[in-house]
């Protein structure tokens, strides 16, 4: 087994990597002194992957919306019970999540780490989909969909995505709808599983105070005993997405006291991966910190006017085929808020961001990255997620130091523009 080590002097940590014969990549990050161990097995498959070439076929076909998430639920079903029950026997927590681009199965424990790890690998690579199980799951998932429908913060965000994008599947709810979920069958689950749950399309990340050699050997041994079909290429089909905005404004009413808003900027600069994509992600985070972070005049003005509160957030989602910035929160006057933000960005386009702001923001992001490493699970998830896009998440401080003021102002001028803006709000009844 070929094990390579990457040491990161800026954080005094190492990550060990290997690719197993089955195609699975394993990343192990030993963390000295930690009581918890964490393992996450992730696939490059999410709700966006609704059209792809099925096994044994040549043309791409669609599957019902929400099936990736449905599959995630169903993978826990086994003839002997639910896979998460065994984790409980070891005092471990087990969970899973589906996003637009990834599905992940994970556990966290302070004891029986090797048992938990072994079980994680076993249950994910041993699907048991049945017609009865599928029918029973539908009820639970319908409740989950309803639960999210009642969350105004989810609604305002989803409506924003629908405003930004004409066709791209990111505009659809990850869990689908009651109707689409009703179309999920055992056969369709098999198709999705066979396509996306190939080890070569997956990554396993383990973190904790363990012996790397021993852990890697255990994983290697266990995967070697399994039989996998020869890896086949995964061909996904995404609809052609125009650069323009689909719908500039969306307003709905719901049972809320304070209005919610989401202002988004669609990224035109797409088609990146690896280092280039990572740079763009870090650069955009730096940009958002400088223009609307807490230490920006704009943020303080909006806060002083009572137009935003401590719950206001800005973030950038950067993927190889699409990207968008979201500014989201609650506001007593979303229209006025939007006006002030757009006006300020307009003005900044003329003046540019100052060197002082740039340096201060860069310093802040460096420190905040270090703080984020206290999140054992989130760090592991970021490592796994970034892996599929060729991004080494722990190189964040290195990428930061490479960025220049010119980069920042270029990004400001290309990205925060009114032409690619959509606005969504949820108002009281």
């Amino acid at each position: 087994m070929q094990l390579s080590e990457q040491f990161y002097p800026g954080i005094r940590e190492s990550v060990y990597q290997t690719v197993l014969p089955s195609g699975l990549t394993v990343l192990a990050m030993p963390r000295s002194g930690w009581s918890r161990y964490y393992g996450v097995l992730m696939t490059r498959y999410g709700s966006n992957d609704s059209q792809f070439v099925w096994p044994g076929q040549t043309e791409a076909r669609a599957v019902p919306d929400g099936i990736a998430h449905f599959l995630e639920h169903q993978l826990f079903a086994k003839p002997w019970g639910s896979a998460d029950e065994r984790f409980a026997a070891w005092g471990a927590n087990c969970n899973a999540f589906t996003s637009w681009t990834r599905t992940a199965y994970l556990f966290s424990t302070t004891d029986h780490f090797t048992d938990c790890l072994s079980h994680l690998i076993d249950f994910v690579y041993d699907p048991y989909f049945t017609a009865e199980g599928t029918a029973r799951e539908q009820g639970i998932i319908e409740q989950e969909i309803d639960m999210f429908l009642d969350e105004p913060s989810w609604q305002v965000h989803l409506n924003l995505l629908q405003g930004l994008f004409h066709q791209h599947p990111v505009r659809r709810d990850i869990a689908g709808t009651a109707e689409s979920v009703g179309q999920v069958s055992k056969q369709l689950l098999d198709v999705c599983y066979q396509t996306f749950y190939q080890p070569s399309n997956m990554v396993l990340v383990v973190v904790g105070d363990f012996n790397v050699q021993e852990v890697m050997q255990q994983i290697d041994h266990q995967m070697a005993a399994k039989r996998f079909v020869a890896p086949s290429k995964v061909t996904r089909l995404y609809p052609t997405e125009p650069e323009s905005i689909h719908q500039a404004e969306t307003t709905v009413r719901a049972s809320v006291r304070t209005p919610l808003f989401a202002l988004g900027f669609k990224d035109r600069h797409v088609g990146l991966s690896g280092e280039a994509l990572f740079r763009q992600q870090v650069l955009t985070e730096l940009l958002l910190h400088a223009v609307i972070g807490k230490s920006s005049p704009l943020y303080q003005k909006l806060y002083a006017e009572g137009l935003i509160d401590g719950g206001f957030e800005s973030s950038y989602a950067g993927h190889p085929d699409h990207g968008y910035t979201t500014l989201q929160g609650e506001s007593k006057d979303p229209e006025r808020l939007r006006g002030l933000i757009c006006e300020s960005f307009d003005c900044l386009q003329q003046t540019g961001i100052s060197e002082e702001s740039f340096l201060l923001s860069r310093r802040a992001l460096h420190g905040q990255f270090l703080q984020s490493l206290n999140g054992l699970e989130n760090t592991a998830n970021d490592l796994a997620d970034g892996f599929f896009d060729g991004i080494d998440f722990l190189r964040y401080p290195d990428v930061l130091t490479e960025l220049t003021l010119a980069d920042l102002n270029r990004r400001l001028r290309e990205h925060l523009r009114p032409e690619w803006t959509a606005f969504s709000q949820v108002l009281p009844l």
Binding site: G10, I11, S32, G33, W34, S35, R36, S82, D84, E85, A88, A89, W90, G91, A92, N93, C94, S108, T110, D111, G139, I140, Q143, E144, D146, M147, L149, D150, E151, S153, A178, A254, S255, V256, R257, L260, G293, K294, S295, P297, Y299, Q300, Y303, G306, D309, G310, G311, E330, L360, S361, R363, A364, H366, G367, Q368, L370, Q371, N374, L376, L429
Partner: protein
């Protein structure tokens, strides 16, 4: 395992230090606590006004730029209710300065900035800045109202409001709208003065630090006595016995929220407290628990159905998101689980899983510096001096008979249901 060393500065400030190199950060938490008094909204508002500006950094922009300069130090203010105490927590998290190449003494600078926020306020016309006050009052009111937006949180609060009506425990730690609206700059300034005199101040610090050095830096930063006239804390009061209350409300939401509050009569110093923890774990605390398995897994009635323990009140709270048409079915299943617990119907496997999960949670605290500090502080407030190891050992000693005794003490106090009026009736499933 993780523990704090207690030291005191020359001005009498209690400082709890946990030296560790496990993290890439140093965390500083200042806890200020006082009784949950009638002027609680002022106390909840105070830290928000303090953080808007002080003598060294007179406005938020200046203070936030200062935090940026301190390598993006994260500053947060939270309000808690712990036992009968109202607590304001000021938390500062910063990168470990040994990972940075800058020459500034990051940790001492951060402590100084924090101290400035707490004890060197911006004084204008003998009180707080009026603009800051009005803006923070508005923000506070919105925060209180936004509890309404999160339906699960709303239902939770409403149930507690009904159960503890007339008792300070029914109050939201962040305040009450009318009370907040009436606050004047002078009121708040006077409250601040009394807090400096009478509240309890404690500092918790974790990270790559040396205790002796820390206490010296704290003495320099917090260079005056605090809370010299504090009063002893009241012991926690358990809810009184009374007939069950049924409360229902309606809102145009797609999913109903059920909250059931049970009295146990068991306080934190009670011999049955640890058995109560085990009971809650078995009943609804984990994925393997009776509630999750029966309401969600077997009956598919809810995405989530669980129970939580309000330790200071000995109250077990069951919460579930269900379709309104399934209310009776869900309550029937929940009642069946309660009855099963009263008949000692749990397997050795369920028992072992619960103990392990409790152990896992306690052991894992060492990995979460700010949560660990809050937990230790919580124990101090409750007059307990136990470590995680002692708790784990105590839990191992809990017997099945003790848990059975606990089970038979549960009494339904308040049943609250938020009925959804925009649901598709066909979506419900009754098994």
């Amino acid at each position: 395992m993780a523990s704090f060393q207690r030291l005191t500065t020359e001005h009498g400030l209690a400082v709890f230090v946990r030296p560790t190199i496990q993290f890439k950060t140093t965390t500083v938490q200042m806890f200020i606590d006082r009784p949950f008094a009638d002027d609680y909204s002022l106390f909840a508002l105070l830290p928000h006004v303090l953080k808007r500006g002080n003598a060294a950094y007179p406005d938020s922009l200046a203070l936030e730029r200062r935090f940026d300069q301190l390598y993006g130090a994260t500053f947060d203010v939270t309000t808690h209710r712990l036992a009968e105490r109202h607590v304001v927590e000021l938390q500062l998290e910063l990168a470990d300065q040994s990972l940075l190449t800058d020459s500034e003494q990051l940790f001492s600078a951060a402590l100084d900035t924090l101290a400035g926020i707490v004890i060197r306020p911006l004084i204008q016309d003998g009180a707080f800045n009026r603009d800051y006050l009005e803006q923070e009052k508005e923000a506070q009111i919105r925060a209180i109202e936004s509890v309404y937006n999160d339906k699960a949180e709303y239902a939770h609060q409403r149930c507690l409001q009904e159960m503890f009506a007339g008792d300070p425990f029914s109050r939201l730690a962040i305040g009450e709208v009318e009370q907040v609206a009436a606050i004047t700059a002078v009121d708040l300034w006077q409250l601040y003065q009394s807090v400096l005199q009478q509240a309890n101040f404690q500092l918790f610090i974790s990270g790559n630090v040396q205790p002796e050095q820390v206490v010296e830096l704290c003495a320099r930063a917090f260079d005056r006595p605090l809370g010299t006239n504090r009063q002893a804390a009241e012991p926690s009061r358990l809810p009184t016995v009374r007939p069950t209350r049924e409360v229902q409300e309606e809102q145009p939401v797609a999913q109903g929220k059920l909250v059931l509050a049970y009295r146990t009569g068991i306080g934190r110093h009670d011999a049955l407290f640890l058995p109560l923890l085990v009971y809650n774990g078995l009943f609804g605390g984990y994925g393997h628990s009776k509630l999750f398995q029966n309401v969600r897994e077997r009956a598919s009635l809810a995405y989530d159905c669980s129970s939580d323990l309000i330790a200071t009140k000995g109250v077990v709270l069951v919460e579930a998101g269900i379709s309104s048409a399934d209310l009776d079915a869900a309550r029937a299943i929940i009642d069946q689980q309660l009855a099963a617990m009263c008949r000692r119907e749990w397997s050795d496997e369920e028992w072992d899983k619960t103990l392990l999960a409790l152990q896992n949670g306690l052991r894992g605290l060492a990995d979460r510096p700010t949560r660990l500090a809050l937990t230790h502080f919580d124990r101090l407030v409750n007059g307990q001096d136990t470590s995680e190891e002692e708790l784990i050992a105590g839990i191992q000693q809990v017997t099945h008979e003790q848990v059975l005794t606990v089970a038979r003490q549960l009494q339904l106090d308040t049943a609250y249901f938020l009925r959804g009026t925009t649901e598709d009736e066909e979506n419900s499933q009754c098994n």
